[in-house]
Symmetry: C2
Subunit: 414 residues, 2 copies
Amino acid sequence: MKPLNRLPGFRDFYPDPIPTSEEGRMEERQHIFRVWRQVARRYGFREYDGPPLETLELYKAKSGDEIIHQLYHFSDKGGRDIALRPEMTPTLARMVASHQRNYKKPMKWFSIPQLFRYERQQKGRLREHFQLNADIVGESDHAADAELIAFLIDVLRALGLSSEDFVIRLSSRDAWQLFFDARCDDQGNAYEFFQIVDKLERETPEISTARFAKIGIDFEEVSALIKAAEPTPVLRKMLEQLEDRGLGDYVKIDYGVIRGLAYYTGVVFEAFDREGVFRAIAGGGRYDHLIKLISKDKVDLPALGFGMGDVVLGDMLRAKGLFPKATDGADIYFQILDEALRSSSLGTIQKLRDQGVSVEWPMTPSSPKKQFKSAHDLGARYAVSIADSDAFLLRDLQTRETSTITLDQLFTMF
Amino acid sequence: MKPLNRLPGFRDFYPDPIPTSEEGRMEERQHIFRVWRQVARRYGFREYDGPPLETLELYKAKSGDEIIHQLYHFSDKGGRDIALRPEMTPTLARMVASHQRNYKKPMKWFSIPQLFRYERQQKGRLREHFQLNADIVGESDHAADAELIAFLIDVLRALGLSSEDFVIRLSSRDAWQLFFDARCDDQGNAYEFFQIVDKLERETPEISTARFAKIGIDFEEVSALIKAAEPTPVLRKMLEQLEDRGLGDYVKIDYGVIRGLAYYTGVVFEAFDREGVFRAIAGGGRYDHLIKLISKDKVDLPALGFGMGDVVLGDMLRAKGLFPKATDGADIYFQILDEALRSSSLGTIQKLRDQGVSVEWPMTPSSPKKQFKSAHDLGARYAVSIADSDAFLLRDLQTRETSTITLDQLFTMF
């Protein structure tokens, strides 16, 4: 019979040693999550979470009907149209709209949701990923934009990446909106304009020129804006604050970035590896009208945020050898070399674990040789066994040194 | 317009201070997860995870068609029948079957999945919860059962619960199977028999008597077996090992527990609060044939495990006041009392954060009074500001003591 497999586009996460490089490695995921949370704490970002299922309406409200083609959505048994969350911002906006009165502004919140997109399966393309979502709500000053980007930079630095590895491309929706307004009267074309700019780097100049021409835009002028890379007043102030922090080397003005989605309003940005090997590591920007839209006019608060997925990031850290090599093994492998001592060994094992020590042991009788092998296989730091009623034999499995110690002495080692 | 709400039966998790007691508190969830992971490490359980979506077939293989009524399931755009995972064991069995050759036995694995059930909405009944799943695969000896139950006990102890708060009711499918075999020839009735025993405590004696009679079982004999509470040889050995560990007070033999699901094969158990106020805190048992079933005969390994949900556990910890009162605030609120010092303040804030210190600061100009209020609101331990080019003014916000220190002195405080 055919064994049951997981769905295509999804990952299993295995403990070390991972069976094949095609499987997810849980230790890598834990390492990334741990660093995300550590740096979030330094910046005062507080963790939240919402449900992985939401009403389909929540996503339609933000992105219109077209989003449906990229969603896992279905009707539940109660006849509700529901969807697996494809992004976190609508959930955040919904939660903020419900209870923002309870929190001082600005709110600095983060979450690590698993997100789902049903796209046609491409090689290596996943249908789920985890994403660090960090948002600042209730602050319209550019200092919030600089704070958010500093956080993004410090997350990548804490993972071992330097300014030689990545750069944040800073851009401005405002700059592009001004450019558009000066050349085109029909606001109905603005979204199309942003889309063409968004795809510039993946499209031939001929096709872009033709698409711009259709809405009365001259590609030469677009290229000139990008080439000049002249910061807007807001971007200039942000750059100053990032330089004050010593983070100037991690950012550059680049109007080639615009972010495809309709709802961005001010500064937008994406993080890329300098070598251009990978897709964007992270992206985000300001979305000052979205909470009003999602809350159906109940709450109006300025906001900005970014998302950083675990897949591109993981590929990059792996390529640069920045993941921890191996997980920690047990602190102690407790040997039972005489079956008459099994009961008292269990008592000691319990005492050690009560102190927070990680202890492995042979559940069934086995030879001393086999027990040493198990200790090594489990990556144990020490092998310990009962010597006599008060003393224990301790063997350091790295130095191979052996000594006799009391239980109290054993406790003080951890 | 009506604001967009979350789906019924799902939780949002808010940072402190939680807005209402009806919302999930993220700090409680983090506390539970942290303790689960800490104790898992002591016992050498290694974390894994699978996808929240699986093929519907995976659950049918284990539990038959009836499970479908309790599942979120639907057809995806590729025509696959898929389901949101209602439990973790089938995913574990699938993963073990795929790659067990890569791992030494016994495998001690755990996971903290979010699980989904579509049941008719009852008051306070959720459609999702998080669950600690711990399993031992590849060890048929009773020592594994004792190890698993010791782990369960220590998880609850680490959360602050004692033997006065909870007890593990230990039972045996084997004992019930022997009882049944001695009285009934038709194995087709065994599942019905287990179901009646499982519901004894929630059913009137009359109804149970009638249902037993239909399959030729005398209720009196059932009651006698439960009353005698005579441990099987395996249970007796497990009790000895738990007593060796000093955990005898946490368990009792109780054949009133049988676990409804069909696939258990040996020892089964449930954890309950002593006062009988809450539903079961955790439950599990041995399922030696399930991996063979799920892997379609590819892999045959003995296994056992338990699940502990976050909802009943959370209710109990809350009722007993065992959750940490408040989250940690910022280490430092960095005041900017002179706007001319904003740039240099940002430089210092960055240096502090680079050292892992949690720092909040005023993003926009505000009065000293307002800044002290923000420091208090954010639960900051210290307020710090620039005194002169080399010195900082430090105010302990608990003792209100003030001192002047250098940056190096400030670093050494954290």
